[in-house]
């Protein structure tokens, strides 16, 4: 086993373990912090794949913004941070079964991708992945249309948020 595989397995265990903790711990703030750990593990996975940009953006967006907003919302809206009710529903086995089916399907699908066993070729020396990503986002034969549509959507969301938050002056 190479060092990379060991790191991958450890990170995978971190991601899955903390994801399970998110839905099982009773303290809501602990759940949010476990979510941070899980998201950080995903960032490490991106870093292993040499996707530097994705790894850093994962930390900036998911930990720096979304998780902190979660924690804020939990702290400001709940007086009691402990969840006291039952944690499972009576018919919990149906979603569990569906989840298992989905997992099986996904594993079969991924195993059937041609060349799944091949090791990925190393990135060419001197290739700036960030530059390549930036060029792809604005070049017409790549992702310029989805990129622009997404930015218009974001703008609409921003304007909507301002409209909803504005106090009626009348």
């Amino acid at each position: 086993m190479t060092a990379e595989q060991i790191i991958f397995l450890l990170t995978g265990a971190l991601v899955l373990g903390s994801a399970i903790m998110v839905v099982t711990v009773r303290n809501l703030l602990h759940a949010a912090l476990w979510l941070v750990a899980s998201l950080f593990g995903v960032a490490v996975l991106y870093a292993i794949l040499q996707a530097n940009f994705l790894a850093v953006v994962q930390v900036v967006v998911y930990i720096g913004a979304i998780a902190i907003l979660f924690i804020f919302a939990v702290m400001l809206t709940r007086r009691e941070l402990m969840e006291k009710g039952r944690q499972t529903r009576p018919n919990w086995w149906i979603p569990a079964l569906l989840g298992l089916l989905l997992l099986t399907g996904l594993v079969l699908l991924i195993l059937n991708i041609p060349g799944i066993n091949r090791t990925a070729a190393a990135l060419p020396v001197g290739l700036d992945t960030v530059q390549a990503l930036g060029t792809a986002l604005v070049s017409p034969d790549a992702y310029v249309l989805p990129f622009e549509v997404a930015s218009v959507l974001m703008l609409a969301a921003l304007v909507g948020a301002v409209y909803v938050a504005t106090v009626d002056k009348k």
Partner: protein, 409 residues
Amino acid sequence: MTFWNNPINFISTWLTGVLTGWRLPAALSTILLYVVGITVLIIFAMTLDIGLVWIERKVVARFQDRLGPNRIGPFGLIQPVADIIKMVIKEDITPDGADKIIYNIAPVLAATSVIVLWAILPLASTIYGVDLNVGLLYIVAAGALGTLAIIMAGWSSNNKYALLGAFRMVSNMISYEIPMVIILLVPTILANTMSVRGITQAQTGMWFAILSPLALLIFLISAIAELGRSPFDLNEAESEIVAGFHIEYTGMKFGWFYAGELLHAFTFGGFMAILFFGGYGGFFGLEKLAFFSWLNIPFVQALVFIAKAMFGYWVIMWIKYSVPRIRIDHMLAFNWKFLVPLSLVVLVNTAVLNKVLIFLPSWLYVLGMFGSNLVIGFVTVEILRAYGRKQRKAEQKPGPQTQTQEQAL
């Protein structure tokens, strides 16, 4: 390849030789080398941190017309050591209602969020941790971890003042992150890269401080806000909420917050030097002369870099000890209504002019960049002046608004 030209590579080659001489597998010796390198870097940063305690206390004393520490050792140089001994032997208290695990992780995370920044800090052309191609975003990501540490500390202490301090700090950091991110794009545009080392190398011709002085100013302001230092120190406003998020921490746990804050300030001084003052390379153009070629030796470059970083640190201290704290609504309004629009204007200006002026001779390019910044600055000051005049006129008129403002005061 000699020791003086490339010390890190020299030592690593030598150590690899030694380790493989001991019949260690190559992969294991690489990992060992990384561990050794990280440890040495952290020890260097923390040792510097001890010195920073002395520097900070001495500089504050000068600003406040005092002498500062002067009893232990020459010029009080051994004072920080005494401070550390005091902190280590103090009683270590975890409050009764505290969330023990989170309470104890928070100071470690706070210090870590600063130390990870040193991974990308290039001390010299051949002395650096790693050359990330997303270096500038990495700075923002490390800041996010710092925010998380403060929330954890404030919440787990089970103290209302701590929680209030944490809330204020987070609203502060989240809002000032926006001008910071926008303004980090200016060096990116000028250098055509986000790598910190690449930005340093792009400034061999001209410092970005001259190409975009407004960007430097906005970066300085948002860095101070990110550090939570005065005038943005609402998180630990001692006259209102005692000490803010670290109110319950004692001994070395408090020490980690304190050490982290000092090192953070110095590190941001370093980033200011890298992004706008040419980092390790460039000492007023002297390094290009044959007589001063010794300025290009890595160890001298590291000294130049530390001197520039100290200058940035000194400016941050200067502001901290001269400007009073501002109210939180003023702080947020200053960010959203002034800094964010201004940084957007500076960014658009840089992006457009950089493409237009690039065809001109270089002295015209520099002049155009500098002049456009001057124009933007002048217009901004004029708009502010007109706004202030309008506000004063509105206040002179007797009316309900004047009364409420007086009551608020």
